[in-house]
Symmetry: C2
């Protein structure tokens, strides 16, 4: 499916076929392709919990306004970010880059993040946005629908999934066969959010 | 171009043809389509500066490690987030939703963000990630290359573009006709970032 078509067709799907199972191969393509999304300094902050256990899904649904997507979607992915990923063996992020690029970027990376937790967090959250958008569009290409979700108790979900101390939850994405329609789309006009040269 | 193909072909392009001009129609499609990306509560936090003035581009390049993409790309977009968008006439975000949905979500939105600036900021940064990924993939579909950039002095760029007090810069995206190749791609194996059910 063409990108433009996929972007247009993607809607936040609220109802999924609870009997549909996604194949291991579709899941592999989905995850491997989405991880080609870019991230600052190629840090790839995403750490993803694939919630398959129906009891865990039920627990999450209870703290997510009872939303049916949580239990009914074929995949429920909790997108987390490792906020310390920038300092976890960073040379691996640039292993295939020419040596001069590595020599320039590795000290820059350290200077960029060290002692600046808000900078690291902002980056991590953007990375989860980049990764998640790729995930939803690839899902569309594979014939699936999706729903990005943040209507849930983040602390409660963190406890359920055993979130490590230096990680943060970004949002969840449910993926499966949609069975319902949404209301009409609604966007602010482009002219309201774009400016020429400066504000 | 298929989504999967577009995701695979997208690379952070460092060299652009400085003589190429993007058509107004291609730009319209690019911006309108990308804004179909989802955002939490449909808040659409993105506020985008389209830097066309070559003097402004030069000023930004000086505080962006001298990177050539800043001046050479056909489009240089500074992706900013309005951190207060959640409280700026929120009923407009749900104008097309059924009344019961509006009645449920509008108080939820207020409760979700009021007095929680970090929550609002996290959301805004994720929205910029979602929007930017759509932008880069739609660009690919239209035959363009792109480069997401955050190697610059954020405060200096904020001054150059006259960033309003309650906005934050996320990153910049350069779009144009790429003229160079990148090094081999490099990603952490999927097994290193996905876990089943819990950490």
């Amino acid at each position: 499916m063409d990108v433009i078509e996929a972007v247009k067709r993607r809607r936040a799907t609220k109802a999924f076929d609870p009997n549909h199972r996604i194949s291991a191969e579709a899941k592999r393509v989905l995850l491997e392709t989405s991880a080609l999304a870019p991230s600052a300094y190629n840090i790839q902050h995403w750490r993803v919990v694939d919630v398959q256990d129906s009891a865990v899904r039920e627990d999450i649904r209870k703290v997510a306004w009872g939303q049916a997507q949580v239990t009914d979607a074929s995949l429920l992915l909790v997108l987390c970010a490792d906020l310390d990923a920038w300092q976890e063996n960073p040379p691996r992020y640039w292993a295939t880059a020419p040596q001069p690029v590595q020599d320039f970027l590795l000290p820059k990376l350290d200077e960029y993040y060290r002692g600046k937790p808000q900078v690291a967090r902002d980056e991590a959250m953007r990375s989860l946005g980049l990764f998640g958008m790729a995930l939803m569009l690839v899902a569309q290409d594979l014939g699936y629908d999706s729903c990005p979700m943040d209507g849930f108790d983040f602390d409660a979900v963190a406890r359920i999934i055993g979130l490590p101390e230096h990680y943060a939850i970004g949002y969840m994405i449910a993926i499966g066969r949609g069975t319902g329609n949404s209301w009409e789309r609604n966007r602010i006009p482009v002219a309201d959010w774009i400016v020429d040269n400066h504000f």
